[in-house]
Symmetry: none
Subunit: 208 residues, 4 copies
DNA sequence: AATGAATGAGGATTCATTCAT
DNA sequence: AATGAATGAATCCTCATTCAT
C-alpha cells in the first residue's frame, strides 16, 4: 500500500530551491563581498540548510560565480536599450547612458560585487572574478560595436581608448553614488558622461 | 655558562611595533580587503604575536581604520604636486593628473582598500569606511580649491559637478588598471581625463 | 583489504549527542559555575568537538540554560514524594523534607549551579539565571500548595512568608553542607527545619 | 640642578593605589565571581594599568583573597552590635539580627562573593575560598559564644546545631533577597529567624 | 532532491602574567 | 612605586565542507 507522503515540504523542487539560494546569495554578496558571504548566512536567509546549498553548488566559489552570472543577467534585463529610431545619434547615446544609470540604481548588486571582486588580489583567484571579467569583456565588445557603428572612421586603438574611458567613467560614477548616496544624481552624471565621450570621439583623428 | 636569552625581543619599543603592524596590515588589507585581513596573517607578516596587535589597536576595526589613515598619508606623500610656474594652466593640470596616476601605480593600496570598503554595505559600517570617506572629502576639497582658482567664474554647483566627475574618472581608470593590468597606461589615461575635464570647465556657463 | 573506517562515529545521532553534551556540561558547570565551564572542557569530557556543541546549542549561554533545565528535571525525578497515607501531617512534612535532603545529596548539581548563577549580578543576565528563577518559582508554587492544604486558615501573605522561610532554610543548609562537607547531616537538618516551619505555621494567626 | 618632576601622577602613593585596586575589585568580584573578575576589568575600573596590580598583589588569587578580607572588614564595620543593656535577651537577639540584615543590604559584596566561592568546587582551591571559610569560622565562634552565654545549660552539640541552623537561615534569606530583590524584606525575615532560633534554643533539652 | 549531524581549521579577542625601564 | 609593552595559552564561536541517510 502506497501512502502519499503527507508532510513533505512542497514537493522537492530543485529549480525553485536553486533560485532561492541565488536570490539570498546575490543580496548578501552584494552587501558584504566574497569573504563576507558565509554559507551559514546565505542558508539563514534562504531558509535551506547549508548542506542543501552544497547540493546545488560545488563549493562557495561556485556559488559566488553563479551569483555574478545571475546578477549580471538580472541587470542586463533591466537595461532597456532605446529604439534605434529615436533622434540623433548623440541623443540616442545619451538615452542609452541614462538607461544604464537607471538600471544600476535599481540593480546595483552586480556591479558592486563585481568591482569588489575585481579590486581584490587574493592568492587564488575566485572563479567569480573570472566570470566578472568575462561578462565585462562582453559588455566592452558591445560598446565597441556601438562606437564603430557611430564613428566608422576611428581605428581600433581609438575605439579601445574610448571604450575604456567610457566604462571607467561609468564605474567611477557608480562608486560615487555608492559612497555618497542619493546626493549623486547618477542619471544626470551618466548623461553628462555620454555627451563628453561623444564629443571626445568626434574630436578624434580619423584613420590609422 | 651564561646563555644569552635566546629570543627576548630587543627592548620594547611601542612606536616601532605599531609601525611594523601597520606596514604588514596595509599590504594585506590592500590585497584582500577587510574580511580577508585576518589578525593571524598580519601577526605572521609583522612577526609580533596576535595579542600584541591588540595592545596597539582596540580591535580589527580600529586596525583597518588606522591602515586607511596611514596609507592615505603614504599616498599623499607620494603625490608631488608640480611647481606653479610650469606652463599654462592646462599643462599644469595635466602634469598634476600624471603625477597622481604615477602615485597610484606606486602606492595603490590606499585607493584599492578604500574602494573595497566604500563598496561594501554591511549592516554595521566599519570605521575604516568612515575614515575613507573623510579623507576623500579632504581630497575633494583640495581639488575644488584648484578648480575655483582656475575658473573663478564658475558657481558652486558647477565646481561640485566638475569635482565629482573628475574624481569618478580617476577612480574608474584606477579600477581599469587594477582589473586589466599593465595593458592600461594609467598615466596617459589620467592625462586625457585631465584635458577632458579642463575642456568641460571651459565650456561651462559662468555665474550663478 | 578493506579497512574499517577508523574513527567515523557511529551513525550520527543527534539526540544521543545532545544528551552526552548535557551530561558533561551538567557535571562541569555544577562544579565550576558559568565562567568556569569552558566549551573546550565540555568538549573534552563528552568526546565531541567544540563545533558540534554549537550544532546543538546556539551558544554557551544556551547550553548553560539547558543544563539548568535538565539538572532540575533530574533532581525532580530524584524527589520521591511520600505517600499521602503515611502518618500525621507533620510526619509527612518531615518525611518530605528528608527526601528532598537526600535528593540534594545525591544530585547537588542543580542547586549548586543555580545558586551560583543566582548570586551573580553581571551586566547582561545569563539565560541560565532566568531559567533557574523560573523553575524555582515552580517549586515555590508547589510548596505553597502544600502549605495551603495543610493550613487552610492562613492568608496568602502568611503562606508567602512560610514558603520563603522554608526555601531559605533549605538553601542555607545546602550551602553549609557544600562548605563543610559530610560533617553536616543534611537529612537531619532538613527534618529539624521541617518541624520548625511546621510549628511556625501552627503558631500563625488565622484569617486575613 | 634638581628639577621638580612637573607632571608625575600625584606623588606615587602605594597605600592609596592599593585601596583603589581593592575597591574596584570588590565591586567586580561581588558582581561576577572569581572567574568573571579579570585583571583587565579591574584595571579599567580603578584606572591603574594591569601591571600595577601585579606590583601590589602577587597574582589574581592573592587579589581575590585580599578582596574577601577587605570586604569582610567593611561588612564587619557595618555591623553595629547593640548595647548589652537594651531589653530582654530575646529582644537583643532580634535587634542583633536586624542589624546584621541591614549590614547585608548595605554591603552585600562580602557574602555574595563568599558564597559564590564557597559553592565552587574547582580543582585547585582558590585562596579566597580558604579565607572565606576562615572568617566564617570566626563568625561562627562569636555566635556560639553568644549562644553559650544566653543558654548555659546547652551542651556543645546543641550549640553547634543552633549555630549551623542560624547561619544557614541567614545565608538562605540573603540568597532570597539577592534573587528576588526588594520584594524580600530582609530585616523582617532576619527578625523572624532570630525569634525562631531563640525559641528552638529554649525548647532544647539541657545537659549532655 | 535534500538534510541533520558532524568536524577540523581558523576566526577575533581576552587571559593572567612577565619584564625592562 | 609604577608602567608600557609584550606574550603564549586560552577564550567563545564561525568557517567551509562532508557524509550517511
Amino acid at each position: 500500500m502506497t501512502r502519499a507522503r503527507p508532510d513533505r515540504k512542497q514537493r522537492a523542487n530543485g529549480v525553485e530551491s536553486r533560485r532561492r539560494i541565488l536570490e539570498a546569495a546575490v543580496e548578501i554578496a552584494g552587501e558584504r563581498g566574497y569573504e563576507g558571504t558565509s554559507i551559514a548566512v546565505v542558508s539563514a536567509k534562504c531558509g535551506l540548510p547549508a548542506s542543501s546549498i552544497y547540493w546545488h553548488f560545488k563549493d562557495k566559489d561556485d556559488l559566488i560565480a553563479a551569483v555574478i552570472e545571475r546578477s549580471f543577467e538580472t541587470w542586463l534585463a533591466a537595461v532597456v536599450l532605446p529604439g534605434e529610431d529615436a533622434g540623433t545619434p548623440l541623443e540616442r547615446c545619451v538615452a542609452m547612458a541614462a538607461d544604464i544609470a537607471r538600471s544600476l540604481v535599481d540593480a546595483p548588486d552586480f556591479l558592486r560585487l563585481g568591482l569588489m571582486l575585481a579590486l581584490e588580489h587574493r592568492p587564488v583567484e575566485p572563479q567569480g572574478r573570472v566570470v566578472f571579467r568575462e561578462v565585462r569583456e562582453v559588455a566592452r565588445q558591445r560598446l565597441a560595436e556601438v562606437v564603430r557603428t557611430l564613428f566608422p572612421a576611428l581605428d581600433e586603438s581609438a575605439v579601445h581608448l574610448l571604450v575604456t574611458y567610457a566604462v571607467a567613467g561609468g564605474d567611477g560614477l557608480f562608486v560615487q553614488r555608492e559612497t555618497r548616496g542619493e546626493e549623486v544624481d547618477l542619471v544626470a552624471m551618466f548623461e553628462l558622461h555620454a555627451r563628453t565621450v561623444y564629443g571626445m570621439a568626434e574630436g578624434m583623428p580619423a584613420g590609422g
